[in-house]
Symmetry: C2
Subunit: 410 residues, 2 copies
């Protein structure tokens, strides 16, 4: 089964809204083993949308349309579907009752235009809403082909996609094949270095397939995608490949799937019963902000001293007089953070975000430090990119240093 | 002139990367007054890309292709262009020399595949790179039509688009009409309230047109777009409308165009010769991180104490014992920040990010404080959304409070 994704909305063409719906649908189709060769965006224009739908039916077995199902005059997906299929639009009395009921429940008067949501091209079935008022549509299109229409509100779209569309497409595809993926998150190596380490394996492997995804300051992700008869077989394939890759990559892999660096650091600290305190200079609060994004951070995170001004470094953290972009300053910041914040593990980062050099050091120079149990460890790094990226890279680099120290068990 | 945008890359179809390039091109075309009725995404497949290009030429006057110009085998835009145009691919000796030169300069050996970037369909011209090695292409396609091909790396794409593509399209459109836009950034009102304030004006205005763009934690933007004969006339139209809207909106407008809240706060502080110190609880460092994103922040930003743990609030900031999600705690945090960090203006924020309540307060409860010249002002707010959004909204709300205090001149 081959499926095209059509996103509807003039705001998408004008670049006022980035089309994340198509990416979501593309991802779910790929995971279900449904091929997708084209995605099209078109404005709120009935004739052009109808033409796009006819073309999509020509070159595919199925089409998922996103958006244009609301009650306002610029929502034309129902009309375009009827035109593309060559059938009339009919108002469904039961659905009209339902739409009226939703408004009555909320105690709000219903604009008459909302009844348009009870319209469907003849022969199409509704996909019922669990939230919102716009139902989706499933439209048989001849030759065993089908068009699904889903509302453009992202969480409504996702819910209907997973409940109604993907299972139906999988049934049509007829296979019992399961497609599952797993992501290994890495930090600390460039994509080219990663390719050198596991490039042969990536090239040779067909099931699971292995792909690199560069995620900027989130590191480089290695995505395994396995195809198998049944959950359990897919899981075994992923498991075996993960073990083989970890043999080579070792602790470059910091997390799996949605486990971010800050979640991993928090779990390691909590697991050892340690609290964390941070002293930040060029990152300005980014390290604290990432750690406190984790629910439950209050169990192991004490706080962060953002010592942007050099006087704050000296007076609040006790950093000795002298250059503040230095290994000595980073070490003193880590120790000062632990002391002032009453934390077991202290982290410190100082450096030059740019655009101007500082203390004779070029932008991108950073010193990272971790202090734990009386031993302080400092690393120097040269980070690429502009001010924004240097700050972001410095933050995750510091968290990675903490992760390694916590893993080492010292 | 009508222009289609074609984005190339299997990773886009699989949803591994969200297609922001098309949104960017759509935005720039709209601002240049070029109509765009379709955007298409297609994978790294020569035959399908060639078919998409032929269709795009059929239904438009111009096409902008994004991506597929790199050196690796999955980069097939050059080949597909040649196929769509029915011309052979030729290697340009001067460009080959240039590509070799770039590698020689960097002292790196050049993989032979990089010379593919010196290939162009017969009759096409290069758009020279200012960074990176992949040049763009301008391809005459008969009947006065044209295809532009740009690299998929966002900053390279944007640079070439603005330097070479948009001016050429405008010239082809032949008009002397200038389209210019201006964005008024607002914070502190919901979209529906904003619509009540200026809805009549939005509905009535045709030049400039007025549109709302909800930008989440960056607030709601009011975008004016004027069409005029010449720069000066467009500027006058925007100017007059901005004055009229500001009459109604007053200090709800915090910035214009790309001036973010943190830039505005920094400029106000610098203009009055004041330094800023912050004490943060639920935001965890977000306020400091935003302020230090501004180049030159070291001139007016002292630092931030992220007092996540209640003991840090008491011991480091001198917050009195008692509930820490309270007006009293926020005020003491602002005063403590100014004192400990040696700043003129102190800011403090405490609250409940969720998911669990704290000190008997539900998630979304925040207290914001600003201390300046011996006077401390505290505001309570109830912020919507999940943990992530409550934290982000709290950070910009605190900055907005600082802005209003600095504007008030007290």
């Amino acid at each position: 089964v081959r499926c095209e994704v059509v996103a509807v909305g003039t705001e998408l063409l004008l670049g006022q809204v980035v089309d994340t719906n198509s990416a979501l649908v593309g991802d779910r189709l790929a995971l279900a083993g449904i091929d997708c060769h084209y995605q099209t965006r078109v404005g709120d224009n009935e004739a052009r949308l109808a033409a796009v739908l006819r073309l999509a039916l020509d070159r595919n077995d199925a089409v998922v349309v996103c958006g244009g199902l609301g009650p306002t005059p610029d929502d034309v997906t129902r009309e375009a579907l009827a035109a593309a299929l060559g059938v009339p639009l009919e108002r469904d009395p039961a659905m009209a009752e339902r739409v009226r009921g939703i408004f009555a429940e909320r105690g709000r008067p219903m604009p008459a235009s909302n009844l348009r949501q009870a319209d469907r091209p003849a022969g199409c079935a509704f996909i019922h809403q669990v939230s919102g008022t716009a139902p989706g549509l499933v439209c048989p299109a001849g030759d065993g082909k089908v068009i699904y229409a889903l509302p453009g509100v992202p969480h409504e779209l996702e819910e209907m996609l997973e409940r109604a569309v993907v299972p139906d497409l999988r049934r049509r595809a007829g296979g019992t094949t399961v497609i599952r993926s797993r992501v290994l998150r890495t930090w600390g190596v460039a994509e080219s270095a990663l390719a050198e380490l596991i490039g042969d394996r990536v090239a040779a492997q067909t099931n699971p397939t292995i792909a690199f995804l560069a995620r900027g300051v989130e590191g480089i992700q290695v995505r395994l995608t396995a195809k198998a008869e049944g959950e359990e077989a897919a899981r075994r394939l992923l498991e075996a490949e993960e073990v083989a890759l970890r043999d080579v990559l070792g602790d470059l892999v910091f997390g799996v799937d949605d486990r971010s660096m800050e979640v991993v650091v928090g779990d390691l600290a909590a697991g050892r019963g340690l609290t964390i305190g941070v002293a930040e200079s060029l990152t300005g609060g980014l390290v604290g902000a990432r750690l406190t994004e984790v629910p439950g951070a209050s169990g192991w995170f004490r706080g962060s001293i953002v010592a942007y001004d050099r006087r704050v470094k000296h007076r609040v953290l006790g950093v000795p007089e002298g250059p503040v972009v230095s290994a000595a300053a980073a070490g003193a910041m880590a120790e000062g953070a632990a002391r002032v914040l009453g934390a077991d593990l202290g982290l410190g980062v100082t450096g030059v975000a740019g655009p101007a050099p500082q203390d004779g050091r070029p932008p991108g120079t950073v010193f990272l430090a971790v202090a734990l149990g009386g031993a302080t460890e400092v690393r120097e790094a040269r980070l690429p990119g502009d001010r924004h990226r240097v700050r972001q890279y410095a933050a995750i680099s510091l968290l990675d240093l903490a992760r390694r120290r916590l893993l080492a068990g010292r």
